[in-house]
Amino acid sequence: MSGKPLQETRSAMEGRRSETGFDHDLYRRFPTHRPRPDGEVEELERIWANPKGWGLLTVVNNNYIGFFYVATAFLFFLLAGVLALGMRVQLAAPMQDFLPPETYNQFFTMHGTVMMFLFAVPMVEAIGIMLLPQMLAARDLPFPRLSAYAFWAYFVGGLCFFASLFVGLAPDGGWFMYPPLTSIAYSPGINTDFWLLGIGFIEISAIAGAIEIIVGVLRTRAPGMTLDRMPMFAWAMLVFAVMIVIAFPSVILGTLLLELERAFNWPFFDPTRGGDPLLWQHLFWFFGHPEVYIIFLPAAGLMSMMVATVARTELVGYRLNVLALVATGFISFGVWAHHMFATGMPRVSTGYFSAASMAVSLPAGIQVFCWIATLASGKIRWTTPALFVVGSIVVFVMGGLTGVMVGMVPFDWQAHDTYFIVAHLHYVLLGGMVFPMFAAFYYWNGMTSKNPLSERLGRWVFWLMFTGLHITFLPMHLTGFMGMPRRVYTYLPDRGLDLLNLVSTMGAFTIAAGVGLFLIDLARNFRFTTDADAGNVYGGGTLEWLPTGMYSTRSIPLVRSREPLWDDPAICADVEEGRYFLPNSVTGLRETIITSPINAEPQYLQLMPGPSPYPVGAAVFTASFFLSLTIQAYAFAAFSGIVAVACVLRWLWETDRPIQQDTADIGAGIAVPIAITGPSSHGWWALNTLMVVMGMIAFMGLFSYLYLFGIHPEVWRAAPAGAETGGIAALLAAGLGLARLSRRTLASKPAGQFPGQGPWLLAAASALLLAGAIWWDWMGWTASGLGPTVSGQGATIFALLAYQGCTAAIGMLMALYLGYRSGKGLLVAPDSVTLDVVVRFLQYAALQGLVLALPVRLFPGA
């Protein structure tokens, strides 16, 4: 680890018990005192420079991608807001004909879908990509090209998806798309397909971003930034990303199943053939309710950071607040069926979900009390962010209290599907996410703009939005109590609803006026920059307020507290003068330090990729793939899919670059390795996270199988013969073994030597065995007389087979890619990042095959 011999100090002895064996005494060398050589900053600027003009399409740096992302998400916020205004005009008076019923259906569906899928989740992910590298003092997040891909897929796909509204093909079944309304019998047009396939790329984009954030937060923190010293926003983004990884697979599976039913008549949700529409509700809400917390938690992280600055004191109850975030993440997965109280679930089951719905208010309450205590213990400076922060707490608490009300089963039965729910969810989402977002816009504007936003206009923006919110949504509690249902395009006069609806409409335009004023402020004052920014206008104490350029900070500081800028005012100058880690580029390439996940001890130097056209190419063709499927242009969809995969492989080609240099001095004589494999590498963490996503899809698939058996056991058929099952298991086990052997073969060769074609051929053989197993499995079920259109059992089994088939196909593709690299002499003993990734994916695929094949074949119900 060190360029100098390690002395047997107390810290060194403790170091043995440290996370990586790193000697903490080495930290005493910082800040360094020797003057840095000339030209280091200029070299950093050259290495991290971005292309201009059309070249901006190829940028991958978080300063640009984060900004593009935030701007696009805000655009979708505005577009969905315009749809809301359209609906409010329609409802301003009874029996209006401003919007025809069909258009109104498309408006409320698109409003909900765009706000949830194209605004809320992407916005918090965007803010994360923009802020996290600076907050953690990393040069960038660990997979910048993945960030770029996530953004462009979202941008291109989102705009195409929204454009469906202009040709009358927008989805119209509500943002949660319940079958049988959305089944082919009742929704024969392609509007529903636009939703089901259209959000496919958004799901991919969200998961790509989540993987980036998990690895980024856990592995690229500045040295010394232990878990205890992580900014609250980083904690919140970590929980957020883990929740995405757990929750999104459920909706991915749900949308795939519903599309399979619509396109190929596989009866997952058709009760006449052993399916069940409630399966969709379980799959959707297992994602849908955590989604609310997925949106809220990052905003809560932003709030926790801003509230400390606003009150000019440390956050009260830092650890309790972190725990509250984690507990909210956990318990939010136990509340999904409170959206289904009216479906006739068993009474005790509804009780469990009701209890969990109340339990989740405990951690949310802890956070609110921490914020209030912080505000009470400090001295509030009533700036615009402060107004939005306090307003957010008020609004969120109001929404939370009505949430506890609807968590009670008898109350929910009365209020279900009425405007009371509309009022509740808007209070929660506006208070829990939109207000913190506006506070963050003002607070962090100084990081990206030459000028700060106007405080005077900001106060107007706040008060217009705050009063408008109450004028709009407070009356909806009453209209709901009076029985006005959601999603109905009009109402009859003289039912006592006229005035309340008119008031709500006036309130909606008041909010719009606030947002309009914000746009004027942006136009007048916001000027994007990556270096000459307005700076730390509100006096925050965390690392994102260090002087930065495209390369983030000049040197990567040693973190000794939670608010380093408050506790050590000299840190800014020291960082800028290069007195900390990595004050230069050691390899002449883009690079950052990878640290350990708990104590943030330096582990190795990661070489980072630069601008590339391939992420944007892959993103455009990913979006094109899904949209072509929607309009049933299958040939073009296949073409788009192939091009997208080719672009991904091409971008990956450059990311595993063997270089001559083995170690690098990252400052003060501390030497670390360059690019490693295995559990210490960031790639290992990313692949494992992806495996969790894939595993969750498989798990939810098995859940669907068992759920349908529980509802319709009468249609279940016996599995094929046991000997066949044994053969399939043997093939998969052999595939697992060959993949393992491939890595061993590479490791057994002398270091730096080309290992021959053996390793990749073993990997390819492993992939072939996986393909053989899936073929045998498929043929076995077909021979038993079961088909995917026969029953819910057949549909779920063949869906699982198809999923495993796709996994095996990806494994095959990866093995061929490995072979191509090997042919080019890029596979070098004793370890290779590419081979490590391919082999571990194949091993995962084999295990997934076993987990999917055996239960359905051995399940006693069959």
Binding site: E14, S18, E19, H24, Y27, P223, G224, T226, L227, D228, G317, R319, L320, V322, L323, V326, A327, F330, I331, F333, G334, P346, R347, V348, S349, T350, G351, Y352, F353, S354, A355, A356, M358, A359, L362, P363, I366, R560, S561, D567, D568, I598, N599, A600, E601, G710
Partner: protein
Amino acid sequence: MSTDYRNRTDWLTPLLALSVWAAHFSLLWAASSIFPGQLTARWIAAALTAIAGGIIYLLWRQAQSRALTSAPGLGLAIATLGIAFDFAPALLA
């Protein structure tokens, strides 16, 4: 500012406690769905609650800090309350 560069908070105990809550909740729901309206589901709930309570107790015994204002203490408290909340419907509904 501190020169201690090691994480000093026991995050593992609250994570395990909340995992116990998650397992308890999932199994209770599964039992109530497999045996709807039957006494069996309630007995299973009682047994699972006893097991979960026992694990929480063990975690509490081993926790670095048991104060309610510490991360392990609060995590254990939230998990215990959650488990108690979840069991209530099996008794009352």
